[in-house]
């Protein structure tokens, strides 16, 4: 689910500041205050019962230090940490950079480019599980990919899910396929907000092509780019579906990431506490990112 949460960044001008209302306005009191509380209550209840309580439960279950000793000793844990770093590091950065470049293609005003955009965002609307299963069969022995390889080059394609690095590469590719369209749309919306006269004056100064991208477009989008990369990192660490349904963690759990390894511990090996501990061991990285993100969201008005 976490990957679907990426839609959160839909409004490019993200800035969440508490008090923005006009001055000279009194406090709420009496019936109005009661109404305000009644309006907030449903969300507060959902937040405490279905977010705070499960998280507290997780912390309580994963609190024993002995669990982490067991984790380090488990032969699947450290490879899963490496896989998570590769999956997130390569996946997020390749996806974001490609999305930034491709958004420059989609901003061109041609009818067929507009029509192509509708096709391009299909992966985002497609249910992740079904898309991942289709990729899984495409990459199987005798599947579409190896069929095309042998038809074009006359060679046998590799057995993709028999090798840790090929399997992980397939996972990262599917992840990029699924989530690049969404971020492309975000960057496209941001590019459309850049006033055309900036480009006009840049052109007078001789900045065209790659120089225009490096010295005009990228500096204008840098803040948004950083923010989106941080958000996407948070969500990608929790991506379960892609790895679980493309490589399935195989061969022999060598492509498991923390999210799928935790699931494996909890539901296949019946060690729920160990499963939570595997997931919680990512918190020392996630919480600083979340704090940086909250501060940036609160202090800076991220227009463009």
């Amino acid at each position: 689910m976490s990957s679907t949460q990426q839609v959160f960044a839909a409004g490019p001008p993200i800035s969440v500041q508490g008090s923005r209302w006009p001055r000279g306005y009194g406090q709420l009191h009496g019936a109005d205050l009661r109404w305000a509380i009644a309006f907030v209550l449903p969300y507060a209840a959902v937040f405490f019962v279905f977010v705070v309580y499960p998280f507290g439960d997780a912390l309580w279950m994963a609190g024993k230090p002995s669990l982490y000793v067991e984790l380090i000793g488990d032969r699947f844990y450290l490879p899963a940490v490496v896989n998570t770093l590769l999956f997130v590091g390569l996946g997020v950065n390749l996806k974001m950079f490609s999305a930034l470049l491709v958004s420059g293609f989609f901003i061109r005003r041609r009818w067929w480019i507009r029509a192509l955009l509708a096709v391009f965002i299909l992966p985002w609307a497609l249910a992740a599980a079904q898309a991942c299963v289709s990729f899984h069969w495409m990459l199987q022995e005798g599947g579409l990919v190896n069929g095309v390889i042998s038809a074009l080059f006359g060679i046998e394609g590799p057995i993709w899910f028999n090798n840790r690095w090929l399997g992980l590469g397939a996972d990262i590719t599917v992840y990029i396929w699924k989530w690049m369209p969404f971020w492309t749309v975000i960057f496209l919306a941001a590019r459309m907000r850049i006033p055309p006269d900036i480009y006009d004056s840049a052109e007078v100064d001789g900045a065209t092509g790659i120089r225009r991208f490096l010295h005009v477009t990228f500096p204008l989008l840098a803040n948004l780019y950083l923010l989106c990369t941080l958000l996407s990192t948070l969500w990608t660490v929790g991506d379960f579906t892609t790895v679980y349904l493309v490589s399935g963690g195989g061969p022999a759990s060598s492509t498991d990431v923390l999210a799928t390894l935790g699931f494996h511990y909890a539901f296949d090996l019946s060690k729920p506490a160990l499963g939570i501990a595997a997931a919680m061991s990512a918190l020392p990285v996630l919480i600083p990112i979340a704090i940086v993100l909250m501060r940036r969201l609160q202090t800076s008005e991220v227009e463009l």
Partner: protein, 294 residues
């Protein structure tokens, strides 16, 4: 130094050549993007239209020589193996999706109305709580969820899944609605208040109608989140109560399953959100670019 006609011509010719190169480059890129985006969808149809049950092999034909709707028929009549309860599962998906959508819109719009329009003091705490929810990936909470739903007596209950989806969809709803609400002038609320309208009336008569584009975005987001999720229904529901998204996932490496019917079911399942997205694309575009409400 003045430009001679010859140099002018050379400049014009190199400009035209450049334009043509850019045009050719974007056509190539367009074709690459088309293949990249459609390959897995094409693969779905290739398998679904194969007359042979369980045929996932690619034998060099770009289109099945004898396309067969046997797979689709097996799904619709529920005759295919593993898909005996397809329509029941489809109904479950629909119920979870619609309930998540309505609850998210309701809870999210009430909370963000209170914070952004009623000037509730300490309202920013609520926004921070919403942001904080995103610091913890949802998949990391699946084990405690499973235990807690059991404790609440909601194991194998569709409402357990709905509760989880609403919990993770409302933060987005609140942030999105708060951004959008800034575009609605406070003078409207004040005028209504001076005329004696209560906050409930302002919410119903002013806030909800003017926020329609943003509410549409939130509704689609919540529906798609619930419709497309795999992990939570897979863990929280038992087999007889499963949703469609889960069935294909759970059999994903089973070569014995009738894959033409499985892929036909997948195609039927992924269509509704795509249709919805395209039907409402104007609202979505307006909501995403935060245009002034008309």
């Amino acid at each position: 130094m003045s430009a001679t006609p010859a140099t002018m011509q050379r400049v014009r010719r190199s400009y035209r050549l450049r334009q043509r190169l850019i045009e050719a480059g974007s056509v190539v890129l367009g074709v690459v993007i088309l293949i990249w985006s459609l390959a897995p969808i094409y693969n779905m149809f290739l398998i679904a239209l194969d007359p042979e049950e369980g045929e996932i092999e690619f034998d060099g034909n770009l289109w099945p020589p004898e396309p067969s709707f046997e797979g689709f028929r097996g799904v619709i009549t529920q005759e295919a193996r593993y898909l005996e309860t397809f329509w029941h599962q489809f109904g479950n998906s629909l119920f979870i999706g619609l309930a998540t959508m309505m609850l998210t819109v309701l809870i999210g719009s009430l909370a963000s109305f209170a914070v952004s329009r009623m000037r509730l003091s300490k309202g920013s705490l609520l926004t921070n709580a919403a942001l904080l929810t995103y610091a913890i990936p949802a998949s990391f909470l699946i084990v405690p969820y499973f235990r807690i739903m059991h404790r609440y007596g909601l194991s194998d209950n569709l409402w357990a899944v709905i509760a989880a989806q609403v919990a993770f969809a409302t933060p987005f709803a609140i942030l999105m609605l708060q951004l959008y609400a800034r575009l609605i002038p406070f003078e409207l609320d004040d005028a209504a208040r001076v005329d004696g309208a209560s906050f409930v009336q302002v919410y119903l008569r002013i806030y909800l109608p003017l926020m329609a584009p943003a509410l549409a975005v939130v509704a689609i987001y919540a529906l798609m989140l619930a419709w497309n999720d795999y992990l939570y229904p897979a863990v929280l529901l038992a087999v007889r109560n499963m949703t469609v998204a889960v069935t294909q996932g759970q059999l994903f490496s089973d070569t014995d399953a009738p894959w033409n019917a499985m892929m036909a079911a997948a195609i039927i399942y992924v269509l509704p959100p795509i249709a919805l997205l395209f039907a409402l694309r104007r609202h979505v575009a307006a909501g995403l670019t935060l245009e002034q409400p008309a």
